[in-house]
């Protein structure tokens, strides 16, 4: 089969799945069919119906509404985490890659140390110090994500720095800052794009995992991981409570993976 064709299939599929998620996210911001926190005794553990298309949980809360808000929450945390990761990663990566020397040595050895530490454990540690909650989770995961970004950027900067045109600009007497901002940073975008997409995926999973462990969003606020964890108590009598949030996580990750996969090869 033609290689470009499968790539296109991947691209379209990825785009569709991501589109579904984005629509859900926007719905979560703009309007949910029910108040995701409102409890209703009469709807307790109700099954799938036209009124509640994903059923209701143990407190009679509409699961569809909670999933919509949960998607919003997960996307927000993942985006914030990736933003922190790339932002700090770019600073560290360019400084170390461009200047080298002892700054490079110190920062990168420190980087290695953080990288060598399992990221979930690191996040647990930070959350342990800061106490749970969304804010703590973002900072914790952000810190855990910095090293991998820094490493990728540094490698790329190191490569570009020695290219002829940079040498040329340097001969013209351009300042370090100008070289970095005008001549190096724009060339990082291809590397950045794919690592951001992959990073985003990891962040989604990490958020779900941490919320599942009770470290992220605090009840009654919905988050996909937390919903999975809550559904675990009723998984045999009401499996739908776990299936829907789980399915949404699968769609989310699959969509972004396909998208990053196809984009990576195109560029």
């Amino acid at each position: 089969m033609d290689k470009t064709k499968t790539r296109n299939v991947k691209f379209i599929l990825g785009l569709t799945l991501t589109g579904i998620i984005l629509v859900m996210m926007i719905a979560g911001i703009v309007h949910t069919p029910y108040d995701p926190m409102a409890m209703d005794l009469s709807a307790k553990l109700e099954g799938v119906s036209f009124k509640h298309i994903m059923g209701c949980d143990n407190f009679g809360r509409d699961i569809f509404s909670r999933v919509l808000v949960g998607v919003r929450e997960t996307m927000f945390v993942a985006a914030a985490v990736v933003f922190i990761g790339t932002f700090v990663g770019i600073i560290i990566g360019t400084v170390t890659g461009y200047f080298g020397g002892w700054v490079d040595e110190i920062l990168m050895r420190f980087n290695d140390a953080v990288l060598a530490f399992p990221s979930v454990l690191l996040a647990l540690l930070v959350i342990g110090i800061m106490g749970g909650g969304t804010k703590a989770l973002i900072i914790a995961l952000g810190i855990a994500f910095v090293p991998s970004f820094a490493r990728i950027i540094r490698g790329e900067v190191l490569r570009i720095r020695n290219l002829d045109y940079i040498q040329c600009v340097r001969l013209y007497g351009a300042s370090h800052l100008r070289i970095i901002v005008v001549h190096i940073l724009p060339n990082l975008r291809t590397v950045l794009l794919s690592s951001v997409l992959i990073g985003f995926n990891n962040a989604v999973l990490a958020e779900a995992g941490m919320s599942y462990l009770g470290m992220g969003a605090q009840p009654p606020y919905p988050s996909l991981g937390l919903m999975l964890s809550e559904a675990q108590g009723v998984i045999y009598s009401n499996p739908w409570n776990a299936v829907f949030p789980g399915l949404v996580i699968v769609i989310m990750i699959l969509g972004f993976s396909l998208l990053s996969d196809s984009l990576e090869k195109k560029t």
Binding site: M1, K3, T6, R7, K10, M37, A38, M39, L41, K44, L45, N58, F59, G60, G131, G132, G133, L205, A208, G209, Y212, G214, Q218, P219, P220, G225, L228, S229, E230, Q232, G233, V234, I235, Y236, S237, A242, G246, L247, I249, V250, I253, L254, S257, L258
Partner: protein, 503 residues
């Protein structure tokens, strides 16, 4: 085609990852009836000293290791244990206990009168700071007379016999906190922090020996995975499950037994922090929170509504009418908030121990109910250990939802906590009227009068809205069909020795 293969792999991978998040099973327990694995929601305290441990979850296990001169049975009556008989003088001041012959400690030595005197002395010594020190402050003299232990009191105390349930420990074991040695039906073997505690049947026990040889107490601090642990077979027994969890287990290999937990579940308020320093604010919360709805939503209608720090198992001390002090009245609640200077409500944080699903569920419903009067309650889950150190000991919190019990079946043990300078007064409740009523209760020798004073204490707690009282939880116990014989106690106790394999 290769690309499609990769795609499938990706789908498969992301699907299994989600499933993996869902299922955190454990290893299978052995089938032999010589062993049982009991799930407990938190690790025991650092200290296993029977006179120091204060958490209900620790004491309910220590019940199996230590015994007092007398001990409670499942009807709440005191029966002879290390002593085989006892008598009280007519004036109620002198107690005489006769030591039972042939009672051995787990380390093999016999229980002597010196051991008993040592155990009493640890609590009765004026400089003693044990959990029972205040109950023993009334002891004038204690001495051995042959095989009798004679205790004399300063004044008559109808509850004193309850204090004799304190564990008897050998006087020559100095590291009792880490090396528990008692006379109970089970002996301590080892513990791995946050993982398990191992007990073994004491073969030289004086009374009816326990049925099951080896007991593993497995710490299941993740409230959500308890059903998984039970169904997966890594836990055979779990006390205090929720009705939703019980519904999952009914069709499986488990019997669900029902009783009451014998504790006071409430949203405990830190009376020393704004805005809870204001009585009107506390009353407003009481008017806004509807225990009935909580019981219906989160507990399938099972539970007994409470209005003060006292539960029905206490019999004559329990006053049913106190529950009617606050009927749900949102208008009144808003009115009170306005008077207190919070017309637009306020926000506060409820810290809830993350290993207790019933309390988490309750907090969620409370948060929803308080929205109706404009009060925002944020829930913050904390680990049990940090709850104990920050909330209970450090008193660094605004509100918390937990259950509080009494170390003994006495009104004093239940109510002394709320006197202004009690070290256990973690809610910082301060009321002169309460202190006066309590002091009257403990200083009078007339039992009927004392009961009246204790009841007055309960009324004050309700009227001054020390806390938002909710319920005595229904206790549902999941027990594998391989075992039987579990007995409910009117106090917070888990009597493992009564559990036996089904023949």
């Amino acid at each position: 085609m290769k690309a499609f293969k990769k795609l499938w792999r990706l789908i498969f991978l992301s699907a299994t990852l989600t499933v993996a998040l869902c299922a955190c099973g454990g290893d299978k327990a052995g089938d032999a009836s010589a062993h049982i694995t009991i799930g407990i929601p938190q690790d025991l305290e650092e200290t296993l000293d029977p006179h120091e441990a204060m958490a209900a979850g620790t004491r309910e296990i220590l019940f199996n290791i230590y015994e007092g001169l007398v001990k409670p049975n499942s009807n709440g009556e005191l029966i002879p244990a290390v002593a085989d008989e006892f008598s009280v003088s007519d004036d109620g001041l002198t107690y005489t206990f006769h030591l039972r012959k042939g009672v051995k400690f787990h380390n093999g030595s016999d229980v002597t009168a010196e051991d008993v005197l040592y155990s009493i002395g640890r609590n009765a010594d004026p400089s003693s700071e044990t959990a029972y020190a205040s109950a023993f402050s009334n002891v004038k003299e204690y001495k051995a007379d042959g095989e009798n232990i004679v205790i004399t009191l300063n004044q008559k105390d109808n509850d004193f016999l309850q204090s004799m349930t304190i564990g008897i420990i050998p006087k020559d074991v100095t590291d009792i906190a880490t090396n528990p040695v008692g006379t109970g039906p089970y002996m301590y073997v080892s513990r791995s922090p946050q993982e398990n505690v191992i007990l073994k049947r004491f073969k030289d026990y004086w009374g009816e020996k326990a049925y099951i040889e080896d007991v593993t107490l497995k710490i299941c601090s993740n409230a959500d995975s308890i059903v998984m642990d039970l169904l997966g077979g890594s836990v055979d027994f779990f006390a205090r499950i929720t009705s939703a969890q019980a519904a999952q287990l009914k069709d499986a290999d488990f019997n669900i037994e029902e009783g009451t937990m014998n504790l006071v579940q409430a949203m405990y308020l830190n009376n020393a922090v704004e805005p809870f320093t204001n009585e009107k604010v506390r009353q407003a919360l009481c008017y806004a929170v509807d225990p009935k709805e909580i019981i219906n939503l989160a507990f399938d209608g099972k539970g007994t509504e409470l209005g003060s720090s006292m539960f029905p198992a206490f019999g004559k001390y329990f006053v049913k009418e106190i529950n009617d002090v606050y009927d749900v009245d949102l208008e009144k609640a808003k009115e009170l908030l306005k008077e207190a200077g919070y017309p637009d409500g306020f926000s506060f944080t409820i810290k809830v121990p993350s290993n207790y699903q019933p309390h988490i569920d309750t907090a969620q419903v409370i948060a929803e109910q308080l929205k109706k009067i404009g009060v925002t309650a944020e829930i913050k889950l904390v680990e049990w250990e940090s709850w104990l150190s920050d909330v209970y000991i450090g008193r660094d919190y605004e509100a918390t939802v937990v259950g509080v019990d009494a170390s003994q079946m006495t009104a004093r043990a239940m109510l002394e906590r709320f006197t202004s300078d009690s070290s256990k007064n973690f809610v910082n409740f301060k009321s002169d009227a309460y202190d006066a009523a309590f002091n009257n209760a403990i200083s009078t020798t007339d039992d009927a009068k004392a009961t009246e004073y204790y009841k007055e204490c309960e009324w004050i707690l309700a009227r001054e809205a020390a806390n938002v009282y909710i319920q005595d939880l229904a206790e549902m116990v999941a027990i594998n069909k391989k075992y039987t014989g579990y007995e409910f106690y009117p106090i917070y106790v888990l009597d493992i020795a009564k559990i036996k394999p089904v023949k």
